[in-house]
């Protein structure tokens, strides 16, 4: 007996840190132009984590030239090369739609976590525990 959940879970990537809504992240996106490839960064606040498994996406919001820009990324897509947590914001909602109505100083999130060194991917956690053993 195999369940769809177990199939999806087995295929999940383990190289991303455990980012949440409210975190400011820097997403490295692979972009293909003709036959050239380059990496583009998109930095902003995660306002939504949507669904799970292979269909999971997250939405990042940033203010670009005074205009609010939101981009939705599929978590499992190989085009998402890396997600780096810049800061962890303290929020009480799971979907931060209220940020859309705020601007300037009001749209800031405060943080209760200063030390981000523990917010690492599953892969990195394993690597560290291996290193501790030696």
């Amino acid at each position: 007996m195999t369940s769809l959940q177990s199939i999806e879970r087995a295929a999940m990537r383990r190289d991303l840190p455990p980012f949440r809504t409210g975190d400011t992240v820097k997403v490295s996106v692979r972009i293909k132009e003709g036959n050239k490839q380059r990496t583009q960064a998109f930095q902003g606040v995660v306002i939504k984590r949507h669904r799970g498994g292979q269909s999971a996406t997250f939405t990042v919001r940033k203010i670009s030239n005074g205009v609010g820009v939101e981009r939705v990324f599929p978590v499992e897509s190989p085009n998402i090369e890396q997600v780096e947590i810049i800061s962890r914001g303290f929020v009480r909602q799971s979907r931060l739609y209220y940020l859309r109505d705020l601007s300037g100083k009001k749209a800031r999130l405060h943080s209760k976590v200063r030390d981000l060194s523990t917010l690492v991917s599953d892969e990195e956690t394993e690597r560290r525990s291996e290193a501790d053993k030696d």
Binding site: T2, L4, I7, K32, S55, P74, S77, P78, N79
Partner: protein
């Protein structure tokens, strides 16, 4: 007709290509498929493979079927018995008692999936045939999801056969043709097929190669 493999529909998910393109896939898990009997031109008048699939409790099958399984020398009691018409040459490749699995299919191959569609019960013309709904305003009275006219008057004086009308929708055998196998996981007995297949999750479907139904 080719060999049909009985599978369970696990549900839909998605796979990503190297380029990051998302492919919607249905995951099918192969049941235990065992050849129970080989039918031949001499004894039965046609050539076919009889395949037992799934399993059920020993005491729930009839003694006749039990005897049939014992004769084939099969351990356990398959739930279903299905038959696939195959050529004499294909039949010669298989033995009674032999197991069939997903290795029948290759990545990129086109397949047909046969299943029982989701039952919608007694459905009206709007849902069943996509009829347009009548105007809801401008004086309409008690006429919301009705179909329009179903024919003329005194001539022909009857409704033409095959007119789209309300009735049972779904819960019928449906074949979806020319689906593409995206991935074959022989270890876990899984088939990843692009797009949807008939029926609800955990339903039973049968898979065969599309090539096998093509006329020569």
């Amino acid at each position: 007709m080719g060999i049909e493999l009985t599978c369970k529909k696990l549900g839909m998910t998605r796979l990503y290509t190297e380029d990051g393109i998302s492919i919607p896939v249905t995951v099918l898990e192969a049941d235990s498929n065992i050849v129970v009997q080989k039918k031949s031109e001499e004894t039965d008048g046609y050539s076919a493979l009889q395949v037992g699939s799934g399993s059920r409790r020993d005491k729930t099958i009839s003694k006749g079927l039990k005897g049939h399984y014992t004769k084939a020398g099969i351990e356990g009691t398959p739930r279903r018995v299905t038959e696939s018409r195959v050529s004499v040459e294909t039949a010669a490749e298989y033995e009674v008692g032999q197991s069939l699995d997903v290795s029948l299919f290759n990545e990129g191959q086109k397949i047909d999936v046969i299943g029982t569609s989701k039952g919608r019960g007694f459905a009206g013309g709007v849902k069943r045939h996509g009829h347009h709904m009548p105007e809801a305003t401008h004086g309409t009275h008690e006429n919301f999801r009705h179909s329009g006219s179903i024919g003329a008057g005194a001539y022909p004086g009857r409704v033409i056969k095959g007119m789209n009308m309300p009735g049972q929708m779904g819960n019928a055998r449906v074949t979806t043709r020319n689906l593409v196998v995206v991935k074959v996981d022989a270890e876990q007995g899984l088939l990843f097929i692009q797009g949807g297949v008939p029926g609800h999750n955990n339903g039973t479907v049968r898979v065969r190669s599309s090539e096998s139904t093509r006329k020569a």
